[in-house]
Symmetry: C2
Subunit: 197 residues, 2 copies
Amino acid sequence: MRKGERRKLELLQIAYRMFLSKGYENTSVDDIIEAAGIAKGTYYYYFESKEQTLEEVIDMMLDHEEEKAREVIASVIPVAHKVVGVIASFRPDTSEAPIKEALHETENIIMHEKIRSKLIARIVPLLTEVGKQGVTEGLFECDDIPERVKEIVILSNELFDGPVYTETEVKVFIDTIERILYAQPGSMGFIAQLLKD
Amino acid sequence: MRKGERRKLELLQIAYRMFLSKGYENTSVDDIIEAAGIAKGTYYYYFESKEQTLEEVIDMMLDHEEEKAREVIASVIPVAHKVVGVIASFRPDTSEAPIKEALHETENIIMHEKIRSKLIARIVPLLTEVGKQGVTEGLFECDDIPERVKEIVILSNELFDGPVYTETEVKVFIDTIERILYAQPGSMGFIAQLLKD
DNA sequence: AAAAAAATCGACTAAAAGTCGAAAAAAGTA
DNA sequence: TACTTTTTTCGACTTTTAGTCGATTTTTTT
C-alpha cells in the first residue's frame, strides 16, 4: 500500500507541470503516461478521469498556497498588508513550472475557471479572518466582511488574470478596496508600489 | 448565394438553442446536423469548427442584447435605472430557449467563460456612456468611469452567475456599486426591490 | 512458501471533431 | 435553351483522445 502513494504523488506532480506549461486541454492522458513511463491502465488505476486529475492537481496547488497564506496571517505585520499578502499567496508559483501564457489563453479555459472557483472558496474564509481583525482594530468600519472580501477577491482575480493592467485600473482597484471595506482613503496606497515588480 | 445565408442563420439558431439547453460541450456536431437534417460536410462548409460556431452564436446573442441595452439608454428614465437596465439587458433570454442549469453547470465552462469575456467587452462602453451621463448630472462624483463600470460589471456577473444569492450579498453589492461610483448612499437601493422577481 | 492484495500492462472500444473528393443543385452566360 | 461556372451538399473516412477490462506481475501479508 506504500508504493501506490508515491506513484500517485509522482503522477500529480507530472500532471501539474504539464497542465501549467502546456495547458490542461493540450495535455493528453497519453502525454502524461508517456512522461511517467507507465501504461494507460496504471493511470486509470489512480484516477477516475482526466478531469478528476485536474481537480486533485488544483487542490494540491491550493493546499500549498493556503499554507503560505496562513504564514502571512500568523506574521506580525499590519492588517492591510495581510490582506494583500493573503491574496498574493494565491498566485501560482512561476518558479516551479514555466507557466508561459498557459493560464491566460483561450485553450485553458477549463483549468482557469476551476482554479478560480476553488480559489475563491478557499481564500474567502482566510481573508474574512483578516478582515475581522481589521474591524477590531478600527481600520475597516463595516459589517458583512465575508461578502466584502469576496468582492475584493473577485476583482483582484479579474485584474491579475490578464497579462496586462493599466495604471488607472490599479488606481481604481485600490480605491475600490478601500471603499468596499470603509478603510481610510489612501490606507491601501502601498499596493501601487508593490505592483511595480 | 442566397440559400447559403438562410442555411447559416438556421444552423446558428439550432446551435444556439442546443448550446443553451444542453450545454456546449454536451452538444456534438452530429447532434446539430441531425437536428438540421444535413450532412457533416455541409456543416463544415459553413463553419470552420465547432468552437467558431460557438463564437458566432455568442456574438449573435450579444448583438440582440446590445440592441435592448441601447433602447434602455435612449429611453427617458433616471440614470441610476439606466445602469441597472443595461446590465439587465445582457441576461440571456430564458423565453427563447430553455436554459435549465446549462449556463451554470460545470460542463458548460467554456461557453460560460466566452460569454463572460465577450459580454464585458461589449457592455463596458455602453455603461461608460451612462456613467458619464451620471457624472454630468452630479450623481456620480468620480473620474475613471470605464474602469469603475467594469468593476461593477464583473461583480454583477459573479453575483448573478450562480443560481442563488443571499440577501446580504445583494445588500453589500448595492452598497459597493454606490461606493465605486461615489453615488449618494441609498441612491441604488431600488435594486433590492427589483431583484424580487 | 502460499495466499491475498495491490499495482501494472496494453490491446481494445467508443465518441467526437474534422477532411475530402465527388456529386447534385443553383446561378450565370451565350 | 444548352453550356459553363459557382455554390451547396453528401457521407465515407481519418484522427485523436478518453476511458475499459481481463490478464499478468509485483508486493505485502499470513
